[in-house]
Subunit: 457 residues, 2 copies
């Protein structure tokens, strides 16, 4: 334990020392030699002042690079903690899609005040980008691309490359796009063809005309599907009039898919918003978690009220109190397996929200098989413990029946929620456990009431 | 509901009709016009015979493409269900990394019998690939790459391109690699430089010498980090002697990260193996789920035995039976939030398995805040319901204390499991709930025993 703790301490301490020495060359070398993750970890553990000073020392451009690099591990968080002027200058150095991405994660008034102090043209572009829903082609596209009209010649394009080589070096140039005078997308030009063609050819003659593009409203699923089908590095995005408005890079779609999966995972575990880093403030972390928990506790109380209705039965067969939490917990587990498989198949597009019957038939089969198996296990354990076959029967049959309910309902809940255009990851679990708890308590206690003379005997 | 059901029916029915008509041209057109997901869905819902016939009709090459395409949505499953000879021929048409990938997912003897009937050279290559652990550079690399010795001239390389253009067109050529006579990696050549250099230059003169590469044993985390740092499309992989053995493509690393996240999600919900599709057999699905559930039920019974120890207390304050499942469930929820955040930070490398104290201090703070909040809620509800302040005190304080235990322990469990080189996703939940159930029941019932005269009054 000691070794690792010391080593981590070292990266951070080294950073602190270099910051206090104001030693830019050494800082640059040190930071370049750290892996992204080590850098993110060391940086996020600096105190606020040191962070601000570090960004000052390395300058706006490198700061932008640093924050972009660690953007999926808490970067935007950091922007909120540095002085306004510095934040503006750093964000101005980022690529357009990153800018929108970072600003979208800030509190609305923070983002607005940064936008107001940026160049008007840039701010307008970013606002435009921010208006597109996050996971559509519009929300994922970059607007830094190279386009020329078809009337230009190969040499015009090459000359333009030369003239703006510095500016373009920041771009991620894989293709060049050919547009009409009104900005309509006409074709795509591969760099290779540009290099191998005579300089006086019109680019409209060497471009690929049969071009693939996506609509600015294209959903995330469509983009994912597009890049599954075609192994391109990027796809041009057009608006309703066919005008070229941006490029979606395949790498970004993959990253976004990854991010969505992670958010799904955290939401499924009850983290509202799908993102939490331990570098966030205690208040933000605990209040977000609490918002989900407090809905849960209300649902829990409602479910448990079923037990209160059967207080007489319980009083006369107190041993049942041992089995109530087991039935509640096991049904939750069985149901959540089905929830997860449904969420996964929905995400992949392998099942549609309305294919209720397909899912119900598939899951109820598992519910019956596993219900019988678990019922036998719990019933057997009860029988062994108390030697009362009626107790075994009551808890065994109740668990079996409730497993069937839980697995079937668990498979359906995500489909129903998605059908209602709600995110299934966050809400499926609480809905499921409420229903399965109520059913489970009802099964055990009503069945027990019926056999009460045999149980309390 | 009707519309969608019909439409889905249609894709599948159309496929079936075309299969029975043996109409290859129409089949080709129809399948090309379906999106990957629609195709996967329609295909996986065909019965076994129709699937086999479809693959026969479209031929080995197209079949290989189809199965590669749907490999992340159940492709390998399908290979196991088609006749042996057909499976061999289809797999022979795949790219080397896909071959190893698909074979690794089959049952061992199935994979072995397919390998035995493949070309000897290819089979050796694949066996070699299958030997590397799944998520290392060796396990992810492709072995179809172009390499030349430094003594060759630009024109030799271009001639070779011409001669083998058909073979190479299947390759994913982005760079060409320069090696020594013994196969040692010396440099990388960009296609651009090859096209723009005089034909009689030695390629060793125009290659990039300061090259980045990864070791064949490089972990997934290192690869992820590499591509976070450098936006390359691929990185060469070398063995211990510095020999070039393969290429890892950045797209594949991203896909693998995605797959790992998905598996993590499903494991977290109790799906052993991290993968389940509803096209799998009922037996496979229910037995996998059951294997995890049956460990859970044993742990549950152990935890609930704490209640049995306090049967006297319960008998005299039966109202507590209503609160036991609530406390068990809520502590599980609070704890699982912490589990998920820890798993996520471990995956990102933002926390190390041995940083116990950091996690403990961060999580216990949340545990205290949220414990007090939830305790007040539940205690208040109890007070309102029964009008007994002591009851409110017992359940409120118990839930508060147990939330602290659950959140702290939940944060730590994944670190401990990872430290023991165990996968935290599958085991954290059951471990957590066992401990929190035992503690929770103990808190409520021992506290209640202490205040029993006030409760049963």
């Amino acid at each position: 334990m000691e070794v690792v703790a010391e080593e981590k301490q070292d990266n951070r301490t080294t950073l602190e020392t270099l910051i206090h020495q104001n030693d830019r060359p050494k800082l640059d070398v040190f930071m370049e030699n750290l892996s992204t993750v080590d850098l993110a970890r060391a940086f996020s553990r600096l105190d606020k002042e040191d962070r601000t000073r570090l960004l000052e020392i390395i300058g706006y451009e490198k700061s932008a690079g640093l924050i972009s690099k660690i953007s999926d591990v808490g970067g935007p968080n950091i922007v909120e903690q540095i002085p306004h002027v510095q934040a503006v200058s750093i964000i101005e150095e980022m690529r357009s899609d990153r800018q929108a991405d970072v600003l979208q994660k800030l509190k609305e008034d923070n983002a607005e005040s940064i936008l107001q102090d940026m160049g008007a043209v840039r701010a307008r572009q970013i606002r435009q980008l921010m208006r597109y829903p996050e996971n559509t082609a519009g929300g994922l596209m970059i607007t830094d691309f190279l386009s020329y009209t078809g009337k230009q010649q190969v040499k015009d394009v090459l000359d333009d490359f030369q003239r703006h080589s510095e500016k373009y070096s920041d771009f991620d140039v894989q293709y060049v796009y050919v547009v009409s005078d009104t900005g309509k997308l006409l074709g795509v030009l591969r760099l290779r063809d540009l290099l191998l063609s005579p300089k006086d050819r019109l680019i409209s003659e060497i471009m690929i005309k049969k071009l693939l593009k996506v609509d600015v409203d294209a959903s995330f699923q469509e983009l994912r599907d597009f890049f599954r089908q075609y192994s391109f590095l990027g796809v041009p995005v057009t608006d309703k009039e066919g005008k070229l408005v941006g490029i979606v890079r395949s790498a970004l779609v993959r990253e976004a898919a990854n991010k969505r999966n992670n958010q799904m995972f955290l939401k499924f575990a009850g983290i509202v918003g799908g993102e939490e880093f331990r570098t966030m403030s205690l208040f933000k972390r605990s209040s977000r978690r609490l918002s989900w928990l407090s809905i849960n506790i209300v649902l829990n109380i409602i479910a448990a009220s079923v037990i209160a209705l059967y207080q007489d039965t319980l009083e006369r067969a107190i041993v049942l109190a041992v089995f109530l939490p087991i039935i509640s917990d096991m049904s939750g587990c069985s149901g959540n397996q089905a929830v997860a498989v449904s969420i996964r198949e929905l995400t992949l597009g392998l099942v549609r929200p309305r294919e209720i019957w397909r899912v119900l038939s598939k899951e109820s089969a598992i519910g019956i098989v596993n219900g019988i198996a678990l019922g036998c296990l719990l019933g057997g354990a009860a029988l062994l413990w108390k030697g009362n076959p009626y107790l075994g029967l009551v808890v065994g049959v109740s668990l079996a029946a409730n497993t069937l309910v839980a697995v079937s309902f668990g498979g359906l809940v995500p489909l129903i929620l998605r059908g209602l255009h709600t995110d299934p990851a966050l809400a499926s679990g609480p809905l499921l456990t409420t229903i399965t708890d109520m059913c489970g308590f009802f099964f055990v206690l009503s069945f027990a009431s019926f056999l009460l003379p045999k149980l309390s005997g």
